[in-house]
Every structure is written in structure tokens, then in C-alpha cells.
Point group: C2
Chain length 429, copies 2
């Protein structure tokens, strides 16, 4: 186990420290690329044990972070995200064990074929290399993100929010103890040496040393990363998700799906933000759905047709159609059948998750094919967009990008591939 | 067929014209996403016929481009790349027909599974959307790139080199005639309205309208695109390719592979630029290979051990190990076995294509696993890195990125995927 760059470099020269950290990460990534699954899993299990053993130290660091956060006047919601307790620490440890139990994506042969000249060409899954994760507030992301990177054979460079820096450092120490048990390089999981924002700027310029940046946080963070980064970014933007209730929908199923999609949890990116109802279903479907939402404490902002259904419906503005509320608020519009719904979703949506409720197979097929979103559902709640619900295990987020990874980003999405070509002396004519 | 943005917008307001062009491309992309294979193939066949029929107009435009290029004092090599003749026009038309004959990647189910709650989840290939191609000099790229984009259901926005602008415009007219025959939107293939460089800057800022930029050209162009672009880029950087001759290599096979890898064509990105030879094979393998290269007119720049083999070998500088010559020049070093070769390649290589020649299966397996390159070969020439040689059909380039597409970029690599989830009223608990 070599010393970490952050422990070697003289303080003050942040750029040099960051370069050393990047070089150490790159060297670790080369080693991890051929590290057997068993060693990675051993490191994850040992890290889980180390997190449990280090619970007092982690809680002490977290208490210091919380004191600063309260002194700085952070909101109650922010404080809650920052808070660690015995239950959350145990959940972190169990999360590491769950990632250890996932299949190893590295080394899988994705395709293999033989050319007429006898060359055998295989497309084989390999790690991406060095992944930088820039995140906010929740210190458990330190363990979750590092575990996913490690399982897929990647070195991780973490930049936690400044408010959780001490908590993250204490968690990092446990993770590195796990790496040591398995004989893996400490530089496989590193943190930037300072909570100072300038470290982020340097990180985003480190193309050649860092292969991809994953920002996890609010829109401000993600847009800053996209604007500044010279390293490719996996983007996780808004989830302005729609449920379209077709005229041929089962009214009871439609009501249940809209209720679940909007209100099960309002703060997740897969929560529905907009309800679209077929014009021919205004009386049969729209009215009971709107009343159910209003009676459940959900604000409804509708167009004229929706406002006509119930006096409690407020008028929607043009901006509402594009808004991700992440709250008990929904925009609602009447559209002309499935084509009207497709046009609305592709115009105002964020290409995240959109659902159709209908018993008409042709309308469903048309919606699923024509809506340009990462996840499209038929007769199911939008809140299913989640790595675990998809059976992919833990996830680092939901990508709204089309390049590389779309939808839940789990271990498979943290890999690349290479072509392995086996010959017997072939020359190109 | 709607009028093109470039024909509608008032001249002078380039930014507005570019936005209109991007919006037209986005609308076309939504339509292409559900366009049947037969219609895309009909458009490609009709475009091939239109290119043959328009040969006189294309040659006339090319003559004007060539006159300007000569007046501007462009090099002979540049003039040759710019030149069109009957043979090159026929090759372009045939290229369109070959892309039409390729399988359609869109709509393929990549994976499908059923969850315990009954949800059926499919990962389905979809187009990327709108692809911008920025290229230099060769006007045939207009047809080649547009055809690959169209086959994969993408709208293309082309920015040809200013020196080939008129030739590209004439080719574009034929492509759009093909689109019209198949009833596809003219905005499926567009060109920026002006050869002015400012159009490129605007293009690179059009995230939201353009999904990915593919620069095709020299390092200067590609680095400018990477530095400026807010749209994701598929990068095609240097091919600093290595051949490592192991002590256990068949000497005759090694000599033939090095000769072919270096000298078959020196100007392609898969050409070998560096020879590494196992220290224990200095006399048996290195000496005859170096003599063969020198006798074939190839300059050899070697370390001390290689210089000792033949007085014609020049001394290599540190910079030589990282240089892509694209010429009859090769750097050569002696290394300590396969581990020495891996260290050298991962340090100095460009992660493009690297080969090992050996009869030792364990050494081959180690090299193929540990070298971090898009293509790794055992007992075959590096010049095989090519879409057609891989059996993937035409390609738009060789990606040295790890994100999204690595290696040859053909129709499959110009796609994304979506998750299609089919339920029967499932709610998330």
C-alpha cells in the first residue's frame, strides 16, 4: 500500500497534489483492470466490517460536520441529508456487501465472431478507468459510489460536498482499510485533498488522467460540471416525468398509477410531474384522477379543460409544462390522443421517464416507440425507474444522456469494452 | 418536404439560422426514430442514383473548389484529398448502396428480463438523435457520414471543410433528392449555411439540439472541438500503435507482421509507430526485423540496444516514444519481456491498437488483458483496425474514447438505447 498523493504532496500546491492524485488513480486503475473478482469482493466485505468497526469515529466526524452546518444556518432538509446515525452507518456497510454480491461485469464477452481470414474478434467488457464523482451533502455516497466503481474495476476520485468533508474522510479511511486487507492499492479510492471549490475546477480539467466525471446533486452542480469539464460527463438532469392516460385506459388502474407515480415519494427523479389525459376521457378518467390528487393534498395546475373539472385546480403557466416540482404539485393537460401526448412529452419532457396507461396495444406500442426518453412504461408507475427495481443492483444515478449510459447507471454502465483479436499471423492485404 | 432552415432564415443572422437548423434536425430525428428500415434504405438507394446522375454538377462544383485551393497554395496532398473524379463519385454512390445493405441496428432488443412483480423490462436500441460531423477536405465524407447517420436513424448536421464547401453542397443536393424519393424530411441531412468558422463555434454550443459531435480530421481540429464543445464528443485521437515481439515469437511471422503493420500503408491510424522487442530476442528477432525495415526504406529510431543492431539506426529521443509518424519511420526499443512491453505501451501509447507476436499463450493472454487499448491483437497486423476488416461495414472513424464507442464507429455505435417496461398496473410499494 503506497502513501496517498494527498499525504505526500506539500500543502499549498493544490494543482501538483491533484496531478499526483490523478496519476496514482491511473496507476491503480491499470492494476484494478486485471484484479480478480474475489479480491475486489474481499475488499468490499472488509470495508463493510471496517465501517462497522469505525462507527464511533465516523459519528464523531459527522458531529463536527453537523455543528458547522448548524452554525452556518443550513436548512433542516440539508441537515437531515448530512446526518449519520447507527442505522445509516449499518445501511452503508450492508450496501457494500450488496455490491460485493453483484456479478462482476468485467471480462464478459459481449460478442465474438470469426472473419473469413480466420481472425477471431471478441468485444470484451473492461473498466472505464478513473471515475471522478462530485456530490453533495449525503456522506453515504462516499461508500456507495466508491463500491460501484471498485466492483466494475475502476479507480474512484471522490469530491464530497464541503459540508460533509469530515464525515466522508472518516468513511474513506474505512474503505481504504478494506482495500489494504485485499492487497489492493489505496489509490483505488481517493478523495480530493481539500473541500475548496478550486479542487473541482482542477479535477474537471484533468482529461488524460480522469476518464469520466459523474456529478450527483442539484441542477446547479450538474450544469457547472457540464459547462466547465474537459473530461466526459455522465449527466443526470431533471426528471420531468409524464403519465399519459389514454381514452382506452382502465380508469381504476389509471387512477392508481397516477397516484403512485405522483405521490408515493415526491422528491425522487422518477416521480411524475405532469399528467396528460386523452380528450375523449375527460369525464371518465380525468375527473376522478384530479379529485383523487386534490383530495390527497396534491396541488394541480391545469389547462382550461382540467380547470373545468374542479374549482380547486389552479391555472398552469407555460413554464409549468417544463417544471420538475419534486413536491406534491402536478401539471395537467388534456391532449388529443396518443399523438398529442407524444408531441407534448417530446416537447416539454426531460427524456427521463414517461408512462402510458391504456388497454389499446397499438396506442401503447406507438407511445413506447415514439417517446424519446430513457425509460418508457406501459401500465406501470414512473417511480419504477431505479437500479434496484430494474434488478440491476445499486446505481450511481439515472442518466438522461444518450451517449454511453442511459437510464439507471449501475456497475455495467461503469464499464467500457475493448476488441481482442486473435490471429495466426494474418497480414492485411 | 419542408424548406431547409438554411434556405428560410435571413442571411446575416447566423445564430438564428443555426438554431432553426438544429430545431429542424431535432424534428427530423424524432421522425427518423420510428422510420421503417425499408424507407431509409430506399432513400440511400435513391441518393446513390442521384449522385450518379448529378456527377457533372458535382464535378463542376469540385472544379471551382480546386481552383480556389490552388490559388490559395494548398499542398499537393490537400489537393489530392479534395479532388473528385468519375471513379471517386462512383465509389461514393456504391458506398451509399453498401450502407443500405447493412443490417438496421435500430429496434434490436439488447436484453430482456422479467421482474418478480411481473414487469417485463427490455433494453432496445434507438438512434442517438442529431449527430454533427465536422470534417476536413475530403468531400466524399459528406455522403459516407450522412449515410451511416441515416441508416442508424439519426439526423446529420454536416460541417465540411471550407475548401470543399461547394463540392459538399452539390453532394448534399443529391442526398436530399434521395430523402425526397423516400418521403423522408429534408432536414434529416443538413449542412451548416456557411463555411465561416463561426458556424462551428455555434454548433459546439448547441447542446439540447445536437446530441453528439464527431470531429473527423487532424489533431488540431479534434482538440479544438474537445476544448470548445458543450455537446458530447466522440474522439478520434492519435494511433500511436505498437507491435511487441516476444521472445517466444515465431521469428518469420514476427518479421512479416511488423513489416505489414508499419509499411502496408503508413498514413492510416492503425499503422504501427513503435516496435518493442523482448530483450532475450535481440539477436534472433530484433536484428532481422530492423534490417528488413531499413532495407525497405523505413527509418528506424532506436534505443541503445536497437542502435547496436545496425549502424543505420538513429537514436530515438524521449519524444519518439509518443510520436505518431504516419510515415515510413518507426521507433524501436528493447523491453524486459511482456511486463516491460505492457508498461511501455500503457505509458507511451495512445490506447488505439497494439499487438503482441508470440507462441506463448500465457504471455499473449497477459498482454491482451493488461494493455489498455481499444484494439489488442495476438499474432496479427495492427492495420486490421478498421470497420470493414472487423466485419462491421463502413465506419465514421476509430474512437480512442472509452465512453460510449471504442474502436471502429459504425452504425451500431451511432445508436443509444431506451428501456421499454411493460406492466399490468404495477405500483411501486
Amino acid at each position: 500500500m503506497t502513501a496517498l498523493a494527498s499525504e505526500r504532496a506539500p500543502p499549498g500546491d493544490l494543482a501538483a497534489q491533484m496531478t499526483a492524485l490523478g496519476q496514482a488513480a491511473r496507476a491503480a486503475a491499470l492494476e484494478l483492470a486485471t484484479t480478480p473478482t474475489a479480491a475486489k469482493d474481499r475488499a468490499l466485505a472488509a470495508a463493510a466490517a471496517a465501517i462497522r468497526a469505525a462507527a464511533p469515529a465516523i459519528l464523531q466526524a459527522n458531529t463536527a460536520d453537523l455543528a458547522d452546518a448548524r452554525a452556518a444556518g443550513l436548512s433542516g432538509a440539508m441537515i437531515d441529508r448530512l446526518l449519520l446515525d447507527a442505522g445509516r452507518i449499518e445501511a452503508m456497510a450492508r450496501g457494500l456487501e450488496e455490491v460485493a454480491a453483484l456479478p462482476d461485469p468485467v471480462g464478459t464477452t459481449l460478442a465474438e465472431w470469426t472473419r473469413p481470414n480466420g481472425l477471431v474478434i471478441s468485444r470484451v467488457r473492461v473498466p472505464l478507468g478513473v471515475i471522478a464523482i462530485i456530490f453533495e451533502s449525503r456522506p453515504n455516497v462516499t461508500a456507495d459510489a466508491a463500491a460501484l466503481c471498485l466492483k466494475a474495476g475502476n479507480a474512484a476520485v471522490l469530491r464530497p460536498g464541503s459540508e460533509s468533508f469530515r464525515s466522508s474522510r472518516a468513511i474513506l479511511a474505512a474503505l481504504q482499510a478494506g482495500l489494504a486487507v485485499a492487497g489492493l492499492p489505496a489509490a483505488a479510492i481517493q478523495m480530493v485533498p481539500t473541500a475548496d471549490r478550486s479542487a473541482v475546477g482542477i479535477l474537471l480539467g484533468m482529461s488524460g488522467l480522469i476518464d469520466v466525471v459523474v456529478p450527483r446533486g442539484g441542477r446547479g452542480l450538474i450544469e457547472r460540471v457540464i459547462a466547465e469539464s474537459r473530461v466526459p460527463v455522465i449527466r443526470h438532469l431533471d426528471g420531468n416525468c409524464h403519465v399519459y392516460v389514454d381514452g382506452a385506459a382502465d380508469p381504476a388502474m389509471a387512477l392508481r398509477i397516477v397516484h403512485n407515480a405522483k405521490l408515493r415519494r415526491t422528491g425522487i427523479c422518477g416521480a411524475a410531474e405532469s399528467l396528460l389525459v386523452d380528450r375523449r376521457a375527460t369525464a371518465t378518467h380525468l375527473a376522478p384522477i384530479v379529485r383523487d390528487l386534490l383530495d390527497s393534498g396534491c396541488e394541480v395546475r391545469g389547462d382550461a379543460a382540467v380547470q373545468a373539472v374542479d374549482p380547486r385546480v389552479r391555472a398552469a403557466s407555460e413554464a409549468d409544462w417544463s417544471t420538475e416540482y419534486l413536491d406534491a404539485v402536478i401539471s395537467a393537460a388534456v391532449v388529443d390522443g396518443v399523438e398529442g401526448a407524444i408531441t407534448h412529452v417530446n416537447r416539454y419532457g426531460s427524456h427521463h421517464t414517461d408512462a402510458i396507461v391504456t388497454e389499446d396495444a397499438a396506442a401503447a406500442a406507438r407511445f413506447l416507440a415514439a417517446v424519446d426518453s430513457a425509460v418508457v412504461l406501459h401500465n406501470a408507475s414512473t417511480q419504477f425507474t431505479d437500479g434496484a427495481e430494474f434488478g440491476m443492483g445499486a446505481e450511481i444515478g439515472i442518466s438522461t444522456d444518450k451517449l454511453h449510459a442511459r437510464g439507471p447507471v449501475g456497475t455495467e454502465q461503469l464499464t467500457s469494452y475493448k476488441y481482442v483479436v486473435r490471429g495466426s499471423g494474418q497480414l492485411r492485404p
